[in-house]
């Protein structure tokens, strides 16, 4: 084993007297003693209690409204229509109404939600080409094989953006109207800045345009089969929101972890009255351009309106979990204290 040392002398093979080799490294041997464990438990219990209460108060101050519009009102008509693939190209618009009892104060966010839509299937998640969407020209014409069968159309023309994810983009659109006492007012939503900075600026890029228009860049490609528009027609008005860098596309392309999810559609434009303080209470309608079929996979569609706090949306799980944890720890610490008092006090259980 150990290398023979070439030290001369009678003690040539004597091992070194180092703390490491002799396993005498200075060390701290912590031990679970009553002095440390019990106070720690009590402290943790109170920390959790405080956190729980604080979070609960925070969450209570938010507002949230969920509206499952899948078959709501006259959307039932569209729902039926979308059952039939042959009528997929036909427009269908429906309107649903709701009322807000208490004004939504502050920034209000508008989400669309899907239930039972599996964006997290392995093959589905693989079915995209990041190289294409970061603007690699080579990839534009040669989508990765992972995109199959949405890599090329029947004529062999490359699909842009390729893959199942892009193909299945959520394509309902919403118009929110406030039925104010003085008549309906369109609630304008900001539909940009919905994405992570990294997504918008790094992960998704249009092919480099050397004085070419976007349309020319994308020449020789075609749209995904379920799309109505080509990729460079997503927002012709705004070149920074068109092509691969379209916010809606980017939001969709960020796959959800679970089959029930919501994605940001827009947020309230608070520049004008009566929306400067958020959404006032009252009645609202949403006009929906109902395109996305959920009937085949027994999914549901919903819109969510919510205000946010510093730790995200209205999620009661964390505050409650903290409160429950706190009480569990408290019970445990009491039990441990009793046990310690009965058995271990003064080290009496440690005698041999």
């Amino acid at each position: 084993m150990g290398k023979e040392k070439l030290k001369p002398g009678p003690l040539a093979r004597r091992p070194d007297n180092s703390a490491f080799k002799q396993q005498r490294l200075p060390a701290w041997s912590p031990m679970l003693t009553a002095n440390t464990v019990l106070p720690f438990f009590y402290i943790m219990s109170s920390v959790c209690l405080l956190l729980g209460v604080w979070l609960l108060l925070t969450v209570q101050s938010t507002h949230e409204l969920k509206l499952d519009y899948t078959e709501m009102g006259d959307c039932a008509r569209c729902f039926e229509m979308r059952k039939n693939v042959s009528s997929a190209a036909q427009d269908c618009t429906c309107t649903v109404g709701f009322s807000i009892e208490k004004a939504f104060k502050g920034d209000v966010f508008f989400y669309y939600g899907l239930r039972n839509f599996h964006q997290n299937l392995r093959r589905y998640m693989d079915s995209r080409d990041d190289g294409q969407m970061v603007g690699r020209k080579r990839r534009l014409k040669n989508p990765t094989s992972y995109c199959k069968p949405f890599d090329r159309d029947v004529n062999g023309v490359p699909i842009v953006p390729c893959g199942a994810i892009a193909n299945s983009i959520f394509n309902d659109s919403f118009t929110l109207t406030y039925l104010s006492p003085s008549g309906p007012v369109d609630v304008s939503l900001i539909r940009k800045g919905l994405t992570w900075y990294t997504d918008k600026n790094i992960k998704y890029r249009n092919p480099k345009t050397d004085n070419l228009s976007l349309a020319e860049e994308f020449e020789g490609t075609t749209r995904p089969p379920y799309w109505q528009k080509l990729v460079y027609q997503l927002d012709p008005a705004d070149p920074t929101n068109n092509g691969f860098v379209n916010d809606d596309l980017i939001v969709w392309m960020r796959e959800a972890a679970f089959p029930n999810f919501k994605k940001l559609y827009g947020f309230l434009q608070r520049a004008e009255k009566p929306f400067t303080n958020g959404l006032p209470k009252g009645n609202y309608t949403i006009q929906i351009s109902y395109n996305f079929p959920v009937q085949p996979f027994q999914g549901r569609k919903e819109v969510v309106l919510t205000t946010l706090t510093w730790f995200g949306g209205q999620n009661h799980f964390l505050p409650i979990a903290y409160l429950v944890t706190s009480s569990l720890i408290l019970v445990t610490s009491v039990v441990l204290t009793v046990v310690w008092w009965k058995f271990g006090k003064g080290g009496k259980n440690m005698e041999e």
């Binding site: 004597r14 299937l121 970061v134 919501k262 706090t309 964390l318």
Partner: protein, 1212 residues
């Protein structure tokens, strides 16, 4: 490395090779009788006897790669990983890239490949060296130097002094008178005294006559190759006359020729057929019990993995039919893949995904931890023996943790417990005791290394090795005290030692037993130098004066007499009988006038016996000429009597050996190694059972048992089994058992169970039986042979296991191994064998752990051992400190490792229920690749290398800490199950808490936070933090290295996460790092940190609570000792306490020796022609170097004026 020492191993390997050869080279008839003809190669070749060549290497250049790879892939784990790599190559299945498995596997394979290659190269070298040793072979009437490998059965070879015997040979003739040959059989049976072999006269008369030898064409018929060292039966047919051959005429391979110029021998058995080889046990690849258990676990885990994958595949099928089929709009199926096939594919996907439960890093880490712990053994200064510059050595790096589980220790005696040095220590002369030192106050002074020694420089013939401390004895002798002079005169005269004076004044004694040598040497140093003998005279230098005594008679030792006497006539014509023997025997024959002296001497004898010394009582008697004449007449008549000669002689001896005058007593110490009694005491406290297996005589073994505290006066009973029939042995064993445990069942209770892989292995366990009181069992080799038979072995084991101490004496090497195997088989306990000589090799190989004592005679034991230490006492540190730590570390490591990976795999399992059983992994690919390899590799190694519950001093202070290891308490099925439950709980928390917290969450600015990547980052961070903190909880000993590893890993984790999620790397390799920005966006969220904090609390607080609870209710021995450590600080180093003085009425003396002395030989006429001083070359000149090194130069050359040569000068 010296190659001589490889021989043992090589021989064994040779047999393996020949075995293979038999398998493939056509069947070979089982040999019933060996038939050979001297000098007739043609005739002998027809029998196809094994050659003397040796092949131990396994590979050559061409076969290395395929054979080695094949061997490596026969290991289950390696094959499994290969299989994983193969299925990862299919894109439909692969959920992970192939290199995640391939890179570690390639690493593992190449490291062990290189190791094997180096080993094999060494073997090649040593094969060559041993096979190319030369020996003189008589070919076509001429002596030719031939390589060992060319020696064949039937060849006549010439051996020279200090050479190893090349094969088992029949002694034909020798340079010594009477065709005697002295051999040292240490390598063979561990006995150090020289043995005498004698050739038959028909062959002996050939002498050095080459022509006669070349013409020699006798036929030999003898038994087939076997392993009995002490038996040989055969016949020599020469010129139609049949002579019988026995063991005395055979030299065995492995012996070394001593004090014999040359001899000729006829090769009977060669190579693998030699008795040495036949005696070495099979060597098997040793694996630890933890290893075995781990293999079983891996199989179970594999089963679990399959079950999990099956569940998920079924889930996949159900999901596909219900949900997937309707989701096909968005995700069309792969063409041609139906639900069945797709579930099948998903099954294998999950096999890949969940293979984390048994990652290859487990095996790599286990090996590294063992290697590290082996280095700690090598590095331990407290196991370094400075006297011969020998550190401890872990020769096998894969058995460390088993050192912490030892239950049975089998120890050799000579060289292991004892130093194999006999020293004349004390004596009682005429009622005055000598040999001890007292200070001014009359307190006994401990004699140490530094105590001043007696200066013998006045005596030019003194032996410089002899050490004595008591000045008063020397003063008494030099003052001319008649009793003291008579005492030493007796020692110089009454013995059968043969002197050798090879060069002028260089005295060398050939003693039949080392005790006798010690006594004669003592007399030599105190001025009574035994110089030479002839059959009729003994020459002694008495205080510088040459005195020649006429040797009238030698009344030799035997077992019954337990004494020996000589009758000498001094130059003045005074006739004296000198007698020495066992006290009881001599006391019966003393003159009544000695009663008073007897009392005092008895007191001294009791003291000596209490110190574990071997005692002899000396007495003398003046004879008158007439009586002697008459006595000699009767003696002569008796010695020629045809019937009852022995009895009549004994009677005549009795007649003269009476009315003796007591002179005193001697005490000879069979020197124990340092610290042996303390070590044995410590090991016994740690609940280890120590069995001594020795080739030595029963008396000697028993005596050592007493002196190292294994046998004690206060023991309830010491049973001695020494029957000569199977029935007798059975009765004696049963008697002992009934005595110890009267109500024990007659039939042994054997629990049959199954264990091992696939539960294929049947185990039989003999239950321990409880006994009140301490008992000991001593069994001799003869009885052991019967007791090891199938019918009696359980009886033996039962009885032996009831006893505190078991001593087996006169056992052969093979019996040693059989005893070990018996215990291994029926006790299912971990065994350790410790020894120093070649005779221990088989036992060392048979035991779970073999420990060799290094730096002593020969290296055979060390070479086949797993650990080598320089001194027996280091065994306690090796076991109680290193073994315990290694076991603790390994178990902790395994527990933690399985916990960590199970948690990981279970979390992946839960996610399957949310992703349509599609094989999607909940964490980042890179996290999976790096989790075991980078993020947790070093911290867990730190745990496995540095953890210690209590320091080494405390470990030695509380040997009880060792017992959890023997019970396998730290890592067994129960522990593993609880470990699994724990990880199940952790994985539930680790998956569902983030799930609940995240599923509806958004960032504070409203953007996505419930997406897959954010969830993955958060989930894996939770997991990583929890397992890291759990590691801190596991660790008892937080050195800065551990802390550095843990904090470093955490830092590396975050650094790597951010780097892999950064912009630049995505732009360069966008398909490999799709997680761009995820870490930034996820970990900047307060809610993420709140979730992590919650999961950590929920995972870890229960662990703390349960541990604290158990510690209060049911503290383990570890807890108790650790509590003490906290309260008291480090213990003082154990004082080297002096053992209390004991008195004992039990005595032993070598006079109980089994075998007769050389008496007959000494007085025989044939001995008469003395060699001349000049005609003989100095010994130790033409020797091969390793042997010369091994043989200590015992006696210095002293220069004095040349003596006139004694005895006739003529030489045969």
């Amino acid at each position: 490395m010296r190659c001589d020492e490889y021989e043992e191993i090589e021989l064994k390997m040779g047999s393996f090779v020949s075995y293979i050869g038999k398998l493939f080279g056509g069947e070979k008839r089982k040999e019933l009788e060996r038939h050979l003809r001297a000098n007739d190669r043609h005739f002998n070749l027809s029998y196809r006897y094994a050659k003397n060549a040796i092949k131990t290497s396994k590979y050559n250049i061409l076969t290395f790669l395929p054979l080695n790879l094949f061997e490596q892939f026969t290991r289950l784990a390696n094959a499994y990983f290969l299989f994983l790599i193969i299925i990862q190559l299919f894109p439909e299945i692969s959920a992970l890239p192939w290199y995640t498995t391939a890179v570690p596997l390639a690493l593992v394979l190449s490291v062990s490949g290189v190791k094997d290659a180096i080993d094999d190269i060494n073997r090649h070298k040593c094969d060559k060296q041993v096979n190319n040793r030369t020996v003189d072979v008589l070919i076509n009437g001429q002596l030719k130097k031939e390589k060992w490998l060319n020696v064949q059965v039937g060849d006549i070879i010439k051996l020279e002094n200090n050479q190893f015997v090349a094969a088992d040979v029949l002694l034909l003739s020798s340079s010594e008178p009477l065709n005697l040959v002295y051999v040292e059989t240490t390598e063979l049976d561990g006995e150090t005294n020289l043995k005498v072999k004698q050739a038959t006269t028909v062959t002996g008369k050939m002498g050095f006559n080459i022509e006669a030898l070349a013409r020699f064409n006798a036929e030999v018929r003898c038994e087939p190759p076997n392993n009995r060292l002490d038996k040989f039966k055969g016949t020599l047919i020469l010129d139609g006359e049949v002579h019988s051959l026995d063991n005395d005429k055979v030299l065995l391979r492995g012996c070394a020729l001593r004090n014999t110029d040359w001899c000729f021998g006829l090769v009977i058995f060669a190579g693998p057929d030699t008795k040495l080889m036949q005696n070495s046990g099979r060597s098997t690849f040793k694996r630890t019990s933890v290893d075995h258990f781990m293999n079983i676990l891996v199989l179970c885990i594999f089963g679990l993995l399959m079950a999990m994958c099956l569940i998920l595949a079924i889930g996949h099928a159900i999901w596909e039919t219900k949900a997937g089929s309707v989701f096909q709009v968005f995700l069309p199926p792969i063409p041609g893949v139906g639900i069945g096939l797709s579930s099948f594919l998903s099954f294998w996907s999950y096999v890949i995904v969940l293979n984390m439960v048994v990652p290859i890093s487990l095996y790599v880490s286990v090996e590294m931890i063992r290697l590290g712990n082996s280095f700690f053994i090598d590095w331990d200064r407290k196991m370094y023996y400075s006297k011969n510059d020998t550190p401890a050595q872990a020769r096998t790096t894969s058995l460390n943790e088993e050192l912490g589980q030892i239950k049975y220790i089998f120890s050799d005696k000579t060289g292991t417990l004892t130093q194999n040095i006999m020293t004349f220590n004390k004596c009682s002369i005429n009622g005055k005791a000598y040999g001890e030192l007292y200070d001014f106050t009359g307190q006994r002074v401990e004699i140490t290394e530094t105590t001043e020694r007696l200066d013998f420089s006045w005596n030019q013939l003194a032996d410089p090795k002899f050490i004595f401390h008591d000045h008063s004895l020397m003063e008494t002798v030099r003052e001319g005290n008649p009793e003291a002079q008579a005492f030493f005169r007796l020692l110089a005269l009454c013995h059968t030692v043969m002197p050798e004076e090879k060069t002028e004044g260089e005295l060398n004694y050939q003693a039949q037993s080392p005790d006798e040598g010690a006594l004669v040497t003592a007399a030599r140093n105190f001025g009574f130098v035994f110089r030479s003998r002839t059959p009729e005279s003994i020459t002694v230098m008495e205080m510088g004066r040459k005195v020649v005594y006429d040797l009238v008679a030698i009344l030799d030792f035997n077992n019954v007499r337990k004494r020996m006497s000589v009758i000498v006539r001094s130059p003045e014509g005074k006739l004296t009988l000198y007698c020495k023997g066992a006290d009881t025997i001599i006391y019966e024959r003393l003159h009544p006038s000695c009663d008073k002296l007897m009392e005092v001497t008895t007191r001294h004898l009791n003291e000596y016996a209490g110190d574990g010394l071997r005692t002899l009582v000396l007495a003398y008697k003046e004879l008158d000429e007439s009586y002697l004449k008459e006595w000699r007449q009767r003696h002569h008549e008796a010695s020629i009597a045809l019937d009852g000669r022995e009895e009549r002689l004994d009677q005549i001896y009795e007649d003269i050996e009476k009315d003796l005058i007591l002179l005193g007593a001697t005490a000879v110490e069979d020197k124990l190694q340092d610290g042996v009694p303390q070590t044995i005491e410590q090991l016994a406290k740690a609940d280890m059972k120590i069995w001594v297996l020795t080739g030595d005589k029963q008396e000697t073994a028993e005596n050592i048992g007493y002196s190292c505290n294994m046998l004690r006066e206060e023991m309830s009973e010491v049973f001695i089994v020494a029957a000569n029939t199977a029935q007798g042995v059975k009765e004696e064993l049963q008697y002992a058992r009934r005595k110890m445990s009267p109500d024990s069942a007659e039939e042994p209770s054997v629990v049959r169970a199954r264990a091992g892989m696939f539960w294929l292995q049947k185990t039989e366990t003999l239950q321990d039986e409880n006994v009140d009181g301490d008992y000991a069992l001593i069994i001799n080799g003869h009885s052991l042979a019967f007791a090891l038979e199938k019918e009696l072995q359980l009886e033996l084991l039962r009885t032996a296991c009831m006893c505190q101490t078991v001593i087996c004496c006169r056992v052969t090497p093979l019996q040693k191994a059989q005893v070990v195997q018996l215990v291994k088989k029926y006790k299912q306990a971990i065994t350790l064998a410790i020894g120093d000589g070649a005779n221990d090799v088989s036992m060392i190989k048979a035991a779970h752990i073999g420990v060799g004592i290094s730096g002593q005679e020969g290296m055979q034991a060390v070479l086949s051992s797993d650990f080598s230490i320089a001194q027996f006492r280091y065994l306690q540190r090796l076991l109680l400190v290193h073994g315990r730590w290694s076991y603790l570390r390994m178990c902790k490591f395994l527990r933690y490792f399985f916990y960590k990976n199970f948690t990981f795999a279970f979390a992946l399992f839960w996610y399957a229920f949310f992703c349509g059983f599609s094989g999607q992994i909940v964490y980042d690919d890179w996290f999976i690749t790096l989790f075991n390899l980078v993020y947790t590799a070093l911290p867990v190694l730190g745990l496995g290398l540095f953890d210690q519950d209590v320091s080494d001093r405390w470990s030695l202070q509380y040997p009880q800490l060792f017992s959890p290891g023997q019970l396998n308490a730290y890592f067994d099925k129960k522990v593993f199950l609880s470990c699994m439950m724990h990880s199940w709980y952790s994985s539930v928390i680790l998956f569902f808490v983030p799930w609940a917290a995240m599923q509806d969450a958004v960032r504070e600015d409203g953007r996505d936070a419930a997406d897959f990547q954010t969830f993955a980052i958060m989930g894996q961070t939770c997991l990583f933090l929890v397992v890291s903190i759990q590691l801190c909880l596991e660790s008892y000993y937080w050195t800065f290295i551990n802390q550095f590893f843990i904090w470093g890993s955490i830092a590396v984790y975050f650094a790597v996460s951010f780097i892999m999620n950064c912009n630049g790397i995505f732009i360069m390799f966008n398909s490999m790092f799709p997680f761009i920005g995820a870490a930034r966006n996820s970990l900047s969220q307060p809610s993420a940190w709140l979730t992590m904090f919650l999961t950590c609390l929920l995972c870890l607080l229960p662990v703390v609570a349960v541990r604290f609870f158990l510690m209060q209710i049911r503290p383990t021995i570890n807890d108790k000792v650790r509590h003490k450590v906290r309260k008291e600080g480090p213990p003082a180093p154990a004082p080297l306490h002096q053992r209390p003085r004991r008195f004992s009425t039990r005595r032993s003396s070598y006079a109980f020796s089994h075998s007769r002395g050389y008496g007959e030989l000494v007085t025989s006429r044939g001995f008469l022609p003395k060699r001349s001083l000049k005609s003989r070359p100095a010994l130790f000149l033409n020797t091969d170097p390793p042997l010369a090194e091994k043989q200590p130069q015992l006696y210095r050359t002293i220069s004095e004026e040349p003596e006139e040569p004694q005895g006739p000068q003529a030489r045969m």
